[in-house]
């Protein structure tokens, strides 16, 4: 029988090897799935892993989708490292999008393009506010943050639906529930002509640097993680657990809100019911696959973005449901968790 034997120390090799092994296993299961459904597995692998990187335009689209995933995951990593279980990033993202739209809709022909800054700021504040509700209920009432943050996702989506079918509905929109297209001045500046890549990617990369410095080079970031790893030690050191909670939720809410603002004022350009695209949930997987490390999450955000684009291409080219993306995302998290056993345990054959 196979037996697990605890390692004296977690294996560094497997810490980095486990996500790769998980990816390999997920791809193998994917190939089997394609064969079982009578589709060409080589074509399947191509739409997921080659087509998203084969041309400059494709790379641009890959970046467009990786940006919000990376931003949200960065915030979630701070949360998860602090042992705060915020799984409602999707709702914070939606609130960020709503708040940013509120500012963007105030713009008119005469607005200067500096209005982009208040648009983004509104997004950050919107996300922080939504996460702040979870923090407050946890802090003041001891309510479970997992359930509260998740319930708030549904509330946020309903709020979005109300805004676009009520107060902000476009009167010239043929009765579709969506806002009018934002004024050009609010558009997040794009980097190149002919590609949708915007300065958002630089904001996300700056976020990588900031989170890295915060986590590994500041006392406050250290206090966050001690609170997560050893609450008793944190108490003894005088680190406040309430502060940990608020900081974690406000940072992750702000990052998710920023991602929402970049999305509505960027690729989408108006507020629609299709703003929630599951990025808030996919970012949980990005955070884990990237080992909750800022640099690792750059890679995993690109990988998850490939899953999104691969799913779209599988739909248009291979006639498969787009939800293939969700299947592979879930599988990747499953296999990652299983493979992570190897970090702390050795597998031994024992009689």
């Amino acid at each position: 029988m196979l037996k697990l034997e605890a390692r004296p120390q977690p294996s560094t090799a497997w810490t980095y090897g486990s996500p790769l092994l998980a990816l390999v296993v997920t791809v193998l299961i994917g190939v089997l799935l394609f064969v079982a459904l009578g589709k060409d597995p080589v074509a399947g692998l191509r739409v997921f892993f080659w087509d998203p990187i084969k041309s400059p335009y494709a790379l641009g689209e890959l970046t467009v989708k990786a940006t919000p995933l990376l931003l949200i995951a960065l915030g979630l990593a701070v949360c998860f490292r602090s042992n705060v279980w915020n799984i409602g990033a999707e709702g914070q993202y939606v609130l960020g999008a709503i708040a940013a739209s509120g500012v963007a809709l105030m713009a008119d022909k005469g607005s200067s393009s500096w209005i982009v800054l208040p648009v983004l700021l509104a997004g950050v504040l919107g996300g922080m506010f939504w996460a702040g509700i979870t923090a407050w209920l946890r802090d003041r009432f001891n309510a479970n943050e997992i359930l509260v943050s998740l319930m708030l996702v549904y509330v946020a989506v309903m709020l979005l639906s109300f805004m676009v079918s009520g107060p902000w509905k476009d009167p010239q929109g043929y009765n579709f529930p969506q806002s009018r297209t934002f004024d050009a001045a609010t558009r997040i500046p794009r980097l190149f002509a002919g590609s949708r890549v915007s300065v958002g990617i630089f904001i996300a990369l700056a976020g990588v640097a900031c989170v890295w410095v915060f986590l590994f080079r500041t006392r406050a970031g250290f206090a966050q993680q001690v609170g997560g790893l050893a609450p008793a030690a944190a108490r003894y050191a005088g680190f406040s657990s309430r502060r940990t909670l608020w900081v974690a939720l406000l940072i992750s809410g702000g990052m998710a809100g920023l991602a929402g603002a970049l999305e509505v004022a960027g690729p989408i350009g108006q507020l629609t019911p299709y703003v929630p695209a599951g990025y808030g949930f996919a970012a949980i997987i990005v955070a884990y696959v990237g080992r909750l490390h800022p640099v690792g999450m750059v890679l995993s955000a690109v990988l998850m973005s490939m899953f999104y684009i691969g799913g779209e291409l599988a739909q248009s080219r291979l006639g498969m449901p787009r939800s293939l993306t969700g299947v592979f995302q879930g599988l990747l998290l499953f296999t990652l968790l299983a493979c992570d056993t190897l970090v702390n345990y050795r597998v031994r054959w024992a009689k």
């Binding site: 209920l137 299983a338 056993t341």
Partner: protein
């Protein structure tokens, strides 16, 4: 008055969905395991049950398929959490994310499909009682079985030896292990039983509650069911009561909409989620109260000999 009878009937119907899932999760949590994958298991069970009814025409096979789907996902969850010691929260999330994606993937072809004609259930004679008849006695048989199930669970947990062992595994796995009970096998059984009930609940949604298949149709009921175990402070009778209460909140929105109350429908749809948050906050305010009632080892892994 007639409309109130219908509101009560609808409340019982919606409450049955929540009660089945929440009783299942209660069994898990009594053994010390939190399964955040309820939503995913219910979604997979909903499509499995719906597909089975469409293909075979038998509701019973539909429920069986739902139970099977829920139990299978729970088995995967349990194997990871109990034998590989993965984090319960993260693994449960994986079940929910995978379940949402997989059910949507499998269900694409079923979106416009129709099931055979639905039967109208009623208990002879009792159904003719004015008001009480339409309110209480025209439910699907599973609605009554759910009440029996809750009673059976009370008896099992508090009046049988096996129930005592299950609770001891949840309270102190170390002691149960020292007494020679196979803690991990008991936990796995509890997880699979919980998954089966979540599966039954999911199948009830797509076969009885709203007889059709739509992507994401469980709409957070799995998460509300999770909140219910806390709300009920881990007591089966209170789980049942809480389920009907939340079923009532869900149905109230349709009632208010029908009465022409001037509130945008989106705010009414928010009600059950907001109610969950408020109730969770109120019930958790006293940490002492939660600590006394909560199975002590909840969420913590157990590996014998470590």
């Amino acid at each position: 008055m007639e409309s109130y009878a219908l509101l009560i009937a609808a409340t019982l119907n919606a409450g049955t969905v929540l009660a089945l899932a929440s009783l299942g999760l209660l069994i898990n949590e009594k053994a010390g395991i939190v399964n955040l994958g309820a939503e995913g298991m219910m979604l997979c069970a909903a499509i499995a049950g719906f597909a089975a009814v469409v293909h075979t025409g038998s509701d019973l096979l539909g429920f069986a398929a739902g139970i099977g789907a829920g139990a299978l996902l729970a088995l995967i969850f349990g194997a990871l959490v109990i034998w590989l010691n993965t984090n319960q929260y993260a693994t449960g999330l994986a079940v929910s994310l995978f379940g949402a994606g997989f059910s949507a993937f499998v269900g694409v072809g079923y979106v416009q499909q129709k099931m055979p004609e639905r039967l109208q259930f009623e208990i002879p004679w009792l159904t003719d009682i004015p008001l009480l008849g339409p309110a209480l006695f025209r439910q699907h048989p599973l609605a009554y079985l759910t009440v029996l199930l809750a009673l059976a669970l009370i008896w099992f947990l508090y009046r049988t030896r096996a129930g005592l062992v299950l609770r001891s595994v949840g309270e102190s796995p170390e002691s149960a292990h020292a007494l020679g009970y196979p803690v991990r096998r008991i936990r796995l059984l509890a997880v699979v039983a919980g998954g089966a009930l979540c599966g039954l609940s999911g199948a009830y949604i797509s076969i009885v509650y709203t007889p059709l298949w739509v992507e994401g149709m469980v709409a957070g009921k799995g998460w509300i069911a999770l909140a219910l175990t806390t709300f009920a402070t881990w007591r089966p009778a209170r789980v049942l009561l809480g389920a009907y209460l939340f079923g009532g909140v869900t149905m109230l929105q349709f009632h208010l909409q029908g009465d022409g109350v001037e509130i945008p429908s989106q705010f009414l749809t928010m009600l059950p989620y907001l109610a969950t948050i408020v109730v969770l906050a109120l019930i958790s305010t006293n940490p002492q109260w939660i600590r006394i009632n909560m199975p002590a080892s909840i969420g913590k892994p157990f590996y014998p000999g470590a």
